[in-house]
């Protein structure tokens, strides 16, 4: 596939920017917290069994996260940027409402993929009282693997 002469981002893709998703309920699960702590070898006493607090990186496991409903312009995708923000610690067993939105979609010419599309999407998590708990944001570089073949790293 040759590098396209014009943007592959359509008006439909652009219309997704700023549109908030319906909320999805996610649960902070003890088994996820324990498994992830074990993998990381995290011995922080704040997150030990029985404390009722989950380590912040459990946000990586929450369903309804920032990839949900992401516009797909090109078939391949690599995570190129990511952000987590924490307003307060996660509590084991609590249910949160996840609301996502697309922040930005833009073309990129050059680099290892020739032509790629950068999609930035985020999810905010709120507790039962409507208070903000955390947020996750990602930028995915979408590309066509066929365009990448034969190219060297930038």
């Amino acid at each position: 596939m040759a590098i396209p002469e014009q943007s592959l981002i359509t008006d439909e893709h652009r219309a997704a920017i700023g549109r908030k998703s319906d909320p999805v309920t996610v649960t902070i699960r003890e088994e996820d917290a324990r498994r992830m702590r074990d993998v990381l070898g995290d011995t922080d006493p704040r997150y030990a069994d029985g404390t009722g607090i989950a380590p912040p990186y459990i946000i990586a496991m929450l369903g309804g996260g920032p990839r949900r409903g992401m516009p797909q312009v090109l078939p391949g995708g690599l995570l190129t940027q990511q952000e987590w923000r924490f307003t307060r610690p996660f509590r084991i067993g609590e249910q949160l409402q996840a609301i996502s939105q697309v922040y930005d979609i833009r073309d990129r010419l050059g680099g290892r993929y020739g032509y790629s599309v950068l999609v930035t999407q985020g999810t905010d998590y709120y507790d039962a009282d409507g208070n903000h708990v955390a947020a996750a944001m990602i930028t995915i570089t979408q590309f066509d693997p066929k365009m990448a073949s034969g190219r060297s790293d930038e």
């Binding site: 912040p56 940027q81 987590w84 290892r112």
Partner: protein, 141 residues
């Protein structure tokens, strides 16, 4: 894990480097064996098809390590408020990664004692991930 206080921290303070060796098992277990993930996390051939050169280390695993690294540095009364990472190049499983960091700013904002750090993961001495981390520390005052 010792406690760090805002007054103890100076700009340009370096964090002690920490080596981690990511494995494919670790990548699978991090997300849970029953949960679908990117096949390239477990399969070197799938990683090679992405141009990575082997099984891909998940960005989320590296972000979790960075969060833990700074959280351990801060101590149990500190709290990581945000982590923002740019993945500069893919990392390959079984190859060592070194976490390193330094303090770039400290300030008091709305009564919160905040410290900003730059953290990198180094693969063969070259940064593969660059992160900015904000942590809130307790004050002796």
């Amino acid at each position: 894990m010792s406690q760090r206080y805002y007054e103890d921290v100076n700009v340009d303070d370096a964090l002690e480097p920490l080596e981690r060796i990511p494995t494919t098992d670790m990548a699978i277990e991090f997300f849970g064996r029953d949960n679908p993930t990117n096949p390239a996390f477990a399969d070197a051939e799938a990683g090679k098809r992405l141009g990575v050169g082997g099984a891909l280390v998940p960005g989320l695993l590296k972000l979790a390590w960075i969060t833990q690294y700074v959280s351990d540095w801060a101590g149990t009364e500190g709290m990581v408020r945000s982590v923002r990472a740019a993945y500069r190049r893919p990392d390959v499983a079984e190859r060592p990664l070194v976490l390193a960091g330094r303090v770039v700013e400290k300030r008091v904002e709305d009564g919160a004692h905040l410290v900003e750090l730059e953290v990198v993961t180094l693969a063969e001495g070259q940064p593969s991930t660059r992160a900015n981390v904000q942590v809130q520390l307790p004050s002796r005052g």
